[in-house]
């Protein structure tokens, strides 16, 4: 495996050697997701591709964190339970990404705790399952 791929896997799987860095990197992705989503929300209003992207971005962090929990439990089983707490921190970052859009204009929807909770129904069962399996 090339070195940079190994490094990226470390960043994406909460590797114990780079845990804080990995958390910071993933938190930036979670927050960035909602920033991009909000910026796109009123653009290209008749473009189906943009619309599909927006629907994907609505729940993408939930699936991404689920995949991270699974991969992390597989690659770094010693921390499979504490990862659930880290996942919660990533949800906070996801929330912040939406909430800070209110700094730009009053009529954004901000964070969407509704679909975040739907996402939690995907993320945490996968995380729990992975913790039990590995």
């Amino acid at each position: 495996m090339p070195g940079y791929v190994h490094n990226l896997v470390d960043l994406f799987t909460l590797a114990p050697d780079h845990l804080l860095m990995s958390l910071a990197f993933l938190a930036a992705i979670m927050a960035g997701n909602d920033l991009v989503r909000t910026a796109l929300m009123v653009e290209l209003t008749r473009n189906p591709l943009v619309h599909m992207v927006l629907n994907v971005l609505t729940l993408l962090p939930a699936f991404l964190i689920a995949a991270i929990l699974f991969a992390s439990a597989w690659l770094h089983p010693t921390q499979r339970w504490i990862n659930l707490l880290y996942a919660l921190l990533l949800y906070v970052a996801w929330y912040i990404g939406g909430a800070i859009t209110k700094l730009a204009r009053r009529d954004t929807e901000g964070a969407d705790p509704g679909f975040m909770s739907v996402g939690a129904l995907v993320t945490f069962p996968v995380g729990l399952l992975a913790a039990l399996i590995f």
């Binding site: 490094n7 909000t38 209003t45």
Partner: protein, 364 residues
């Protein structure tokens, strides 16, 4: 909320940092890095090239500072460039021992990629923010005191919105005509759903599969001086049958040169469906004088689960075992309904000036 002025000043700050800072850095880096005990860059060519690119981002930021509205798209390029730079700096700091001094540039760029995106949100589609603030734009048409209310509501929640706008209009001297949009695929767009039909509607809403509707039996030379269009949000966008009205070219002349207003009803996401509706109306030549969006009553997360429960069971408070968690009502709050009545009144009493509303507010 951060004002336009603050965002402009932040753009000026990064313009100075990227523009002047890079020139200064290139001119003095051997001396400066020695002073700070920072190792000299291993590759002078790459260092100079990165400084050159960074300088151009400074120019970009200055152009945004100078005229944000004209140069809003540059903010997207700037945000992407700064985010990429921040990532690589972070990566090399974590895995290749890059000195912290260089990381400060990455951190600066990470912050500014967020600032650029926020400013982009603020600058673009500013007319929607004005409309959502409650402003009613002036009319460009003579008043006939007749309003057409166009509605499609799958579950019936839009009906209460319509009734209240109608009450507000009629209390202020308007006569109203309701018109139900009829989808051609009546077997699909029917409530309650089966799971299969719900999934079909969902997938079609996500990929924007058009829904044909029966042609509106309204002549282009009708005598309504105001058309109010009611629309729900389906998977972030407009409900398919309402968009179907605009996708049929035969219906478009109905809106041309007329005052139009929009009411969006949703669980919690209104921005895209509202923007889609308003842009369609403008594309048809309508003069958008007002727009409101209302969310269902209640709080998250119970509101979103109440929506799904209602779509599955077609009754409030079902399933019984989840009743403690679900919202006691489905749809708009009493306060929202009162606001809609007031919206109807405001539309009826809108000012009349011979200047088109969209020309006045500068649509971007």
């Amino acid at each position: 909320m951060l004002s336009r002025r603050i965002f402009r000043l932040l753009c000026l700050a990064t313009a100075a940092a990227n523009g002047l800072g890079n020139v200064g850095l290139l001119a003095t880096y051997p001396w400066l890095l020695n002073l700070l005990h920072v190792p000299l860059p291993g590759d002078s060519y790459s260092f100079a090239a990165v400084s050159g690119f960074s300088f151009t981002v400074g120019l970009l930021a200055f152009m945004v500072f100078w005229n944000p509205e004209e140069n809003a798209q540059l903010l997207v390029i700037g945000a992407a460039g700064k985010a990429i730079y921040a990532f690589f700096t972070f990566y090399f700091w974590v895995f290749h021992g890059l000195h912290w001094f260089y990381l400060t540039f990455g951190a600066w760029d990470a912050v500014f990629s967020v600032i650029f995106l926020l400013f982009y949100m603020q600058v673009r589609n500013h007319d929607l923010e004005i409309l959502n603030s409650g402003e009613i734009f002036s009319s460009a048409t003579p008043s006939g005191r007749k309003a057409l209310l166009l509605l499609y509501s799958l579950t019936g929640t839009g009906l209460s919105a319509l009734e209240n706008v109608k009450a507000g209009l009629e209390a202020n001297g308007y006569s109203t005509t309701e018109y139900d949009i009829q989808p051609v695929e009546t077997d699909l767009f029917r409530f309650p759903f089966t799971l299969q039909r719900f999934i079909r509607i969902m997938i079609r809403a996500i990929v924007r599969w058009p829904a044909k509707v029966e042609p509106l039996k309204i002549p282009a030379n009708h005598d309504f001086d105001l058309i109010v269009v009611f629309c729900q949000t389906w998977f972030v966008g407009m409900s398919a049958p309402v968009e179907g009205v605009f996708q049929d070219p035969q219906n478009r002349p109905i809106f041309k040169g007329r005052d139009v207003a929009t009411v969006n009803v949703c669980r919690g996401l209104h921005r895209r469906s509202q923007a889609m509706l308003i842009r369609w109306l403008e594309a048809c030549g309508g003069n958008v004088v007002g727009a409101r969006a209302f969310e269902h009553a209640g709080h998250e997360p119970s509101r979103v689960f109440s929506l799904f429960a209602y779509l599955i069971y077609a009754r409030v408070g079902e399933p019984a075992w989840l009743k403690w968690f679900l919202e006691p009502t489905y749809g708009l709050s009493t306060r929202s309904l009162d606001d809609l009545k007031q919206f109807g009144a405001s539309l009826a009493n809108r000012k009349r000036e011979p200047v088109l509303a969209f020309a006045k507010r500068g649509v971007s």
